[in-house]
Symmetry: C2
Subunit: 174 residues, 2 copies
């Protein structure tokens, strides 16, 4: 169903272990790849929507009206983009955002890593960065809705499914 | 675990069927109870936080700092309170709120109906009102996290648990 692809990447995200120092570095500022480029994170919302659409196209998500994507970015509590920097050039390679009440709860949506950059621990680094930022804002309850094929990925990051029998539910029109 | 009680009522909410006309009336403006009082909904965020705390106390939720509750109400996308009106007097008998990106997704939190008013279809009317308001704002994906004892209640309202294997997940510190 294309709809769910608009929420989460249907492609398998990297769960490969990464040395801790590299991860810490990634979460802090950026990390150097084997090819000499750097991976950096940004919370700047001024993202080229066409570039973001290209990234989402690459993982097979169904297209969404850019007007609504723009609004969703504007009203998300946290928006994190992940970039490969090579000299003066940079390329959008990952994205994620979270809605929140700014007090108790945050819900993470639209986690995506470009297929060319999967299997390198970047999905993990992106999520760790999201969690770190949310925790720094005193959000205690971080939630998400995970496609079956990424449940183990999120479990490896400390997410629990159905804790104490709590079920994620989605409303459908009668 | 007290924490989850802060998210959802641990008490069983009413699933009793209610005549459709009454429900429609409730969703629109208010409905008259058997004792002659009226049940009305409000989206006004200017709620007496002590009155809200009293309501949450009545269902056994653990207390939360009012400063944070105030912030959560301020930054929620939709806040609905349910009142019993009797002449010039009114009493807070239900509450619910939703976070959202104002475009695609909304997540409903803190659904509560006072125990004295449960079993009368008011929880159902409150949720129908929430759904109606969210749909009128063009939100297509309405989600929530349901305690095991209220999963059936939400199912009766058109919510599906784990559709296509999608799991609700919660982050816990390592």
């Amino acid at each position: 169903m294309g709809f769910w692809k608009s929420l989460f990447s249907a492609t398998d995200m990297a769960t490969a272990a990464k040395p801790d120092p590299a991860e810490r570095s990634a979460a802090a500022m950026g990390m150097t790849t084997s090819s000499g480029s750097r991976i950096v994170f940004s919370v700047d919302r001024d993202i080229d929507l066409y570039e973001l659409e290209e990234l989402c196209d690459a993982v097979g998500w169904s297209r969404r009206p850019l007007r609504k994507v723009k609004k969703a970015i504007q009203y998300s509590f946290l928006v994190v983009s992940m970039w490969e920097e090579r000299g003066a050039q940079r390329r959008l390679v990952g994205f994620s955002r979270a809605t929140s009440d700014h007090a108790f709860n945050a819900t993470i949506w639209d986690v995506v890593v470009h297929p060319d950059y999967q299997g390198k621990g970047l999905g993990k680094a992106l999520m760790k960065y999201m969690i770190k930022r949310l925790r720094s804002e005193d959000i205690s309850n971080i939630t998400l809705f995970a496609d079956p094929q990424v449940v183990e990925f999120y479990r490896g990051l400390g997410f629990m499914s159905d804790p104490e029998g709590i079920k994620g539910m989605f409303w459908y029109p009668d």
